[in-house]
Structures are given as structure tokens and as C-alpha cells.
């Protein structure tokens, strides 16, 4: 799908993008920083989704589980069950929840395939959402959201660093984003990544060659779940709230759309998709009142599907080398 690009060009683009992101809060207002944080969170989520979808060829309709449940785990640790705001505890509980649920859902899903698997993930997502809404033991607060989930700032002597709101959270999210991007790039180049691609291309052949694909599918689910958990946690910190909309199946469908829109299996595609959707949504809703921004986003989905086969990235990567060639 992607044409080979000049390594120098790719390196220059990457470096300038990273520099731009690193220096952004210096010349942007808090609102734009907030939006970019939001876009970075969705980028992490989309990268997690694409690991399973674009790279392993598994369509999931249940990623709301791996995004929302870790956020609820944070809500329980900080508020409803433990009332403990230790940032290391909070983050590791969220990560563990994502990895564990990823592996568990992966195990259940490894018994079916294709559209059937997608529907299994979907039914599971519905069950988790209903579980949160039914408020078992008073730990999820049902329809009400859990508020006040941010860990306090770090204090060294008389210097206080707040990593969980505003600019601090921006840099924390950016750090996680770069880590995830690099991690997925390395993973895809590794032997595990090759097995993932092989499962995507032809699982039957792997099976008939005597490979057991099940552990790899579970691994892909677990990693995707763990990375989604990072996105869910950052979202919980960003708004300082964990709400039932985070486990709603529609957020899982949205991340699928973002990935398809940007270009599945292209590493940068899902990131582009996340930025395009977040900024389209924000600008359309500030320009057009009364919920009519939905027309713009709906129209965008239709236009991209009809005119940009393979997503935005496929078009860009076929356009870019031509732009910079003399």
C-alpha cells in the first residue's frame, strides 16, 4: 500500500513533527494544547486498535472494554473502593486491567473468526457496559460518573510538578504516545510482528503448516488491550472524570472508523485519522451550532470512503514523493 519513501525525507518529517509537538505548549493557548492532548489520546487508542486490526487482521467491535474498564479501575482505586491516589499504583492497576482483559477477551475470541469474532467482541462490550451501568456493589456509581480521579502533583522540596493536568498531562501523553509509536514500530519489525502479519494474510496456511496461532492472537489482544488502557487512563486524567460513555460500544466503533479513515496498517495512518476526527469535530461544532456538526463528520466519513480508498494515508503516501521530487 505504501510506496517506498526516501529515508531522509521520512526522517526529516518525523523529526520536525516531534519538534513541533515538543514545543507546542510554548506558543499555543491552553485550549489548543487540550485539543492536541485529546488527539494524542485518540492516536494512542487508534494505534492500539490498529495493532489488532491493521496488523493482525482481526476486526474488533469491543475495544470500548479496553479503553473504559481500565478507566473504571482507576475510578475504583482513587475514589469508590480504595481512595488511594498514588500515581504509580493507579497507572499500574489500569495497565494490568487492560492487559488482563485483552488476554481474556482474546482467549474467548480465539474460538471464532471474522465477522463472528467481531460480534463476540461486540456482545462482550455490551455486557461490560451493562455491568458498569448496573453498579455492582456501588463501585461504579452506575449512570453517574466517578469524579476526582487525578493523582496529586509530585513535590520535590519546593518544586511541584503536575503530570496529571494541563501542560504536565500534555507531556505525559506525548511521552506515552512516542513510546507506543516506537514500540509498535519495533514490534512490527520483530518476529512477533511477522507472525501477526502472517495471521492477517493467511491464517489457514499457518495452521496447516503446524503453527499454533492461538497464543499469538491472544498476545495481540493483550498488547492492544494494554495500550488502549493507556489511552483510557489519560482520558480519565484529562477530564478528571470516568463516565459510562467510556465503556459505551460506540467509542469502540469510533476507533474502528478513525483507523479506517486514516489508513489501517500504516503506523501513521491511525494517528492522522485521530487528529482529523478530533479537529473536524471541534471546529465543526464551534462553527455550526445545535449538534449540526454531525453532518460534517458524517459527510467526511462518506467522502473519505468514496474518494480515498485505503484511507487518508494511502492517498498521502502516493502523493508525497511526487510533491518532493524534482
Amino acid at each position: 500500500m505504501t510506496r517506498p519513501q526516501k529515508p531522509l525525507f521520512t526522517m526529516a518529517m518525523t523529526l520536525s513533527a516531534v519538534l513541533l509537538l515538543l514545543t507546542l505548549p510554548a506558543y499555543c493557548g491552553p485550549y489548543l494544547s487540550y485539543l492536541v492532548t485529546l488527539a494524542l489520546i485518540f492516536s494512542i487508542f487508534a494505534l492500539a486498535y490498529d495493532l489488532l486490526f491493521g496488523h493482525t487482521g482481526i476486526v474488533s467491535f469491543g475495544h470500548s472494554i479496553f479503553y473504559g474498564m481500565p478507566a473504571y479501575a482507576i475510578g475504583m482505586v482513587t475514589s469508590t473502593v480504595l481512595n488511594n491516589h498514588n500515581p504509580f499504583l493507579v497507572l499500574s492497576v489500569a495497565l494490568a486491567t487492560g492487559l488482563f482483559l485483552g488476554a481474556a477477551v482474546g482467549l474467548i475470541c480465539s474460538f471464532s473468526r471474522g465477522i463472528y469474532l467481531a460480534i463476540v467482541t461486540f456482545a462482550l462490550a455490551q455486557i461490560f457496559e451493562l455491568l458498569i451501568l448496573s453498579d455492582p456493589g456501588g463501585v461504579t456509581l452506575g449512570e453517574n460518573s466517578i469524579t476526582g480521579v487525578r493523582p496529586p502533583p509530585f513535590v520535590f522540596a519546593d518544586l511541584s510538578v503536575n503530570l496529571f493536568s494541563g501542560t504536565g498531562l500534555y507531556y505525559l501523553t506525548l511521552a506515552f504516545f512516542l513510546l507506543v509509536l516506537l514500540g509498535i514500530k519495533l514490534l512490527i519489525g520483530s518476529q512477533w510482528g511477522q507472525v501477526f502479519h502472517a495471521i492477517r494474510e493467511n491464517e489457514e496456511r499457518l495452521l496447516s503448516l503446524g503453527y499454533n496461532t492461538r497464543p499469538y492472537k491472544i498476545l495481540a489482544f493483550a498488547l492492544s488491550g494494554g495500550i488502549s488502557a493507556i489511552a483510557g487512563s489519560m482520558m480519565a486524567f484529562l477530564n478528571n472524570v470516568v463516565s459510562p460513555s467510556m465503556v459505551d460500544w460506540q467509542i469502540g466503533a469510533e476507533i474502528l472508523l478513525i483507523t479506517v479513515l486514516g489508513g489501517a496498517g500504516t503506523l501513521i495512518g491511525p494517528v492522522l485519522g485521530a487528529f482529523v476526527v478530533v479537529f473536524t469535530q471541534t471546529f465543526a461544532s464551534s462553527l455550526i451550532g445545535g449538534g449540526n456538526w454531525v453532518y460534517v463528520l458524517g459527510g467526511l466519513y462518506i467522502v473519505v470512503a468514496i474518494f480515498l480508498p485505503g484511507g487518508i494515508m494511502a492517498k498521502l503516501s502516493s502523493l508525497m514523493p511526487r510533491l518532493f521530487r524534482r
Partner: protein, 292 residues
């Protein structure tokens, strides 16, 4: 207790058959074209609104129902020609992307035209009273009529699939596109007809459900998730399986709602569907199809 149980059973059957009407089109379109039609819920909603619109301007509910079927069928054909057919051949997932866009626009359009608050349709006919054999309860006649209409349409579809040339060609195309095409089946034409029928039945279901649950912009999107699960659990291209899956879920919901809260009964319903799907990976009566 017995009275409540019987009432809930009747509710379960009525709602189950309406669910089956909605899921029917979904499963045929999925089997034939390999695309999860996300806009399906919008046609259910559109059917409800057309019925409401005709009822509020002419005053006849049944005329509204007829208009809903016709308008949904025509809009369905238009959608098929402009978006579904060109995109499904290229990539079913990009078709899904476009269909989500269509569904968002439909929903917002309904909100713009008719407003966000639910529109109430009066329930036609009165109640019928059952007494004797140890039971004593009254039940709205309209629910029984809706049950009968759904059953007749489902039976007609089932006959269409078993005994007409069109239906048999359609089943052949669901099982294997290429071989069916090679044997002279015009898959494009069959897809167009089936998409239109699917949207018309979704519109009918929306019109029938209108007096029961009222008509509101989110009625489609709230239902579509459960419909995806029913369509798959029933089995691709199987009307019998779809009816079994739909009534199972509706009965589980309505009977368990006597004893437990709504959310928990929904959890139970989804768990039942999930277990069926794990035991029978191709659905209750699924056949090998293009989706394998």
C-alpha cells in the same frame, strides 16, 4: 403471577418478531454483500417517523405504515445505487465507514426536522380481556395485530426463499458469489432487490414499533447493536434462525425483567446469545457463506 408471566410472554413474542423483522434485512445484506449495514437502524427510525408524519397529517395509522414501507424501500434503493454497491465491491470496511456517515446524517436530519423529543403515536384499538383457565388479564389488541403482521411478513419471506426463483438464487449467491455468478445468477440485481426489501421491512418494523415505544431520533442506534448480534447468532441468510434468536433474546429480556432490573436482564440476554455463538460459531442455523 401467572397473569404477569403470560403478559410478558406475549410481549416477548411480539417484540421478538419485530426484532426479527429488523434483523432479517441485516442478515440478508450481510450474507449477500458482506457489509454490516450500520444505516439499517436509520431505516427503522425513518419508518417510525414516516408513520408518525402520515398519521399526524392524514390521521390514518395504517396508511402511515404503508407509506413507511414504500419510502424506506425507495430510499434504500437510492442508498444501494449511490453508496452500497460501488463501495462493497472495493472494501466492506470502507462501506461500513460510509454507512456510519449516512446513519449519522439520517439521525441528525430527523432531529432537525422533527425535534429531539419523542413523538407519541396512539395505540390503535383497545384492550382484549382474557378470563378463565385460572388467568385473568387484559392485553392491547394492537400488540396481537403487530405480532400477526410480523409473522405474516416473515412467513412470506420464508416462502420467497424456499419456493421462488429469486429466493433460491439469493441463497445461492449468499453461499458462493462467484459460482452463483458463473451459473448465471445476476448477483447485482438480486442484491439491489434484497437491499430494498431489507430496508422496507426495517421501515415496517419501525412503524409497528412506533405506538409501542414512541418515535425518537435515537431509536435506531439504540437497537442496531442488538440487531447485529441477532443477525449473526441467527445465522447468515436463515429466516428461521433469525426468528429463533430474536424471540429468544426478547423472551429472555421480558420474562427476566419480572424478577431482575433492566440492566441485569440485558446482561442475561447478551450472555445467552454469546454462549449460543460460542457453541455454534456460524449461528443457530447458519450455512457456509461468503463470510467464512
Amino acid at each position: 403471577m401467572l397473569n404477569v408471566l403470560i403478559t410478558q410472554c406475549l410481549n416477548g413474542i411480539t417484540i421478538g418478531l419485530i426484532f426479527a423483522l429488523v434483523a432479517l434485512g441485516l442478515t440478508i445484506v450481510l450474507g449477500l454483500m458482506g457489509v454490516l449495514n450500520f444505516a439499517h437502524g436509520s431505516f427503522y427510525m425513518l419508518g417510525g417517523y414516516i408513520t408518525y408524519f402520515v398519521f399526524s397529517s392524514v390521521g390514518n395509522y395504517w396508511l402511515g405504515l404503508l407509506a413507511a414501507v414504500l419510502v424506506c424501500g425507495l430510499v434504500g434503493l437510492l442508498l444501494f445505487a449511490t453508496i452500497v454497491r460501488p463501495l462493497t465491491k472495493r472494501s466492506p470496511l470502507e462501506a461500513l465507514l460510509a454507512l456510519v456517515g449516512v446513519s449519522m446524517i439520517f439521525q441528525q436530519a430527523a432531529r432537525t426536522i422533527w425535534g429531539a423529543e419523542p413523538k407519541l403515536l396512539p395505540i390503535p384499538f383497545g384492550n382484549v380481556h382474557f378470563q378463565g383457565l385460572g388467568v385473568d388479564f387484559s392485553y392491547p389488541v394492537y400488540f396481537l395485530v403487530a405480532m400477526a403482521i410480523s409473522a405474516v411478513v416473515l412467513a412470506a419471506m420464508s416462502l420467497l426463499f424456499r419456493h421462488t426463483d429469486l429466493g433460491i438464487r439469493c441463497l445461492a449467491a449468499i453461499q458462493d458469489h462467484e459460482i452463483a455468478s458463473a451459473m448465471g445468477v445476476n448477483v447485482d440485481r438480486i442484491s439491489a432487490i434484497m437491499f430494498m426489501i431489507g430496508m422496507a421491512t426495517a421501515g415496517l418494523a419501525g412503524g409497528l414499533a412506533g405506538p409501542m415505544f414512541s418515535v425518537y431520533p435515537n431509536m435506531g442506534i439504540e437497537l442496531i447493536g442488538m440487531m447485529f448480534v441477532i443477525a449473526i447468532v441467527g445465522g447468515m441468510g436463515s429466516i428461521g434462525g433469525t426468528v429463533i434468536a430474536a424471540t429468544t433474546i426478547a423472551m429472555t429480556k421480558s420474562i427476566s425483567s419480572i424478577f431482575i432490573s433492566g440492566n441485569v436482564s440485558d446482561i442475561l440476554a447478551f450472555t445467552v446469545l454469546l454462549i449460543i455463538l460460542l457453541i455454534r460459531p456460524r449461528g443457530i442455523m447458519g450455512i457456509a457463506s461468503v463470510m467464512d
